[in-house]
Symmetry: C2
């Protein structure tokens, strides 16, 4: 099962980091922007091409340091179909460099619609009897507010292809508690969500002990992560909120099991925008991202030992 | 504020119906599919073109009967970027026919990411100081599991452009209760979601008494709708689940206020796939959809009188 694939990559690199590929056009160094706008015009196509060049540079610089990348769909959708075309190319390029690709889409819908989403992002769509892949990620993030109906079609698609999913449990943003922290019976809502998510995937436990239904657990709520690690022993965690949002390596250590397994920590702006802090003009963006990824790996190593 | 725009359209047509544009390639009549595959090949591009022709036929046949259409993003994403390009064209075509367009995307993310989604779907994206619209719908559906952070950026974008949103409150699918019906204090979770959603938009009440943050309330749970109508007097409702999912006109009547205002009922397969029940070969798909939309309007009229 597929968190086995990801955990193997993490162990090989001794680095439980996923790098976000969430570029706004403002994050792209000026020389790349200028060249793309000159060739494709100032507009959605030019912006998409600039971001693609930026993504390729980041992927080349990171692919032997980090095991996974996480493009956030919003930053492609905001360029319309040209952004989505570029997202397809970005995912394909990352996979060609043997990176594990988590498409951060947070989808969730009724069963028939969830099946269509699962086709688009994981398994491909059948047309006249033949399957055509679309975005074709290794893993997606999901929102389970609608219950197991909205998750199961993704699990079916994932099972068939050795892929996996992460379902939102306790998110990293300031208002996450408004709904997630409400107490129902003897559990908070995010605990109920986590319990449900582990239960519906219980027959998919892989060699490291994790099901194919992982959970998103924000670094900004470290005590919740510690509790969830004990509560959900068969759930792999995706931990956003390290760096720009305020989470530290000390905070995220609680997401890991005693072997340093079972979690991956995301950093987006901290790696992607590292060039903005070097004092340079952006020609060093790839090296700056690589240095930031190495620094993050070494920072995590202080608290997490991967065996 | 924007539910005023929608309510005005509903009153003019005396029809509180939104038609789903959720075509899988199998729903498209054979003569359209064959022509598109012959011209563009069997694949994502051919399928997208076939569905576009189908959508245009539906829009032409429905635009003087229904006030609104609701494309479901999943059925475009599963054709990759070619599907998204076709979604842009579908939305633009529907707007050119003065239909109100609800993009059913159920997005929800941390604030900075929600802003990017809001750009993509409502307000457009700034590139070198100029705003470029992307999918440019009139309204979107959202998932508020992450709390007010994840909704507010959409409200800001909607306010600036006389647009609006629907947030999932009580969904129509069988498993919706797994999370939404849990009891926290004196409220069920979907009630807490509804309360939160009404509160964060409370300064946006329009001439009909509704804020710009509507709620999705499934027709398949009529007693919950009745309670929500009383509880959320300033919230406009989008009611899925009529027809194929089992909801009836008697069930959905409770979504409306005493003037027959404050709600719109969705039908997707019931209208879009009506041609499959006429015994024909699909050449009559547009007329069949029109007839089904008229039948639905008349069915709703039995229980809902719009003043």
């Amino acid at each position: 099962m597929s968190f086995d694939v990801l955990q193997d990559k993490i162990r090989k690199m001794k680095n439980p980091t996923v790098a976000g590929l969430d570029a706004r056009i403002e994050y792209v160094p000026e020389h790349i922007r200028k060249a793309a706008f000159a060739e494709y015009g100032v507009g959605r196509k030019g912006a998409a091409e600039a971001i693609y060049q930026f993504n390729v540079g980041l992927i080349d610089a990171l692919c032997d340091i980090v095991p996974a990348v996480k493009p956030q769909s919003a930053y492609y959708e905001n360029l319309g179909w040209q952004g989505m075309e570029m997202l397809e190319r970005t995912i394909a390029y990352a996979k060609s460099k043997e990176l594990f690709v988590i498409a951060d889409i947070k989808r969730g819908d009724i069963g028939s619609t969830a099946s269509a989403y699962a086709e688009g992002w994981l398994s491909g769509t059948k047309i006249e009897g033949e399957v055509f892949p679309a975005f074709d990620a290794d893993c997606v993030t999901l929102n389970g507010y609608m219950g197991s109906d909205s998750i199961n079609p993704f699990l079916e698609a994932a099972k068939a292809q050795d892929k996996c999913v992460f379902v939102l449990v306790k998110t990293s943003n300031p208002s996450s508690g408004e709904l997630q922290d409400l107490i129902a019976g003897d559990r908070q809502i995010y605990q109920a969500m986590g319990d449900l998510n582990q239960r519906i995937a219980k027959d998919t436990v892989g060699k490291y002990g994790y099901t194919i239904a992982g959970a998103v657990t924000g670094a900004t709520y470290p005590s919740d992560i510690r509790d969830l690690r004990k509560r959900l022993e068969h759930t792999f965690f995706l931990v956003p909120g390290y760096g720009a949002q305020g989470g530290t390596s000390e905070d995220v250590q609680h997401a890991f099991d005693q072997y340093g397994h079972g979690a991956i920590v995301n950093s987006s702006r901290g790696i992607m925008c590292a060039w903005q802090k070097t004092g340079g003009d952006g020609h060093d963006f790839a090296q700056a991202a690589r240095n930031a990824a190495i620094a993050m790996r070494d920072d995590l190593k202080q608290f997490v030992t991967i065996v």
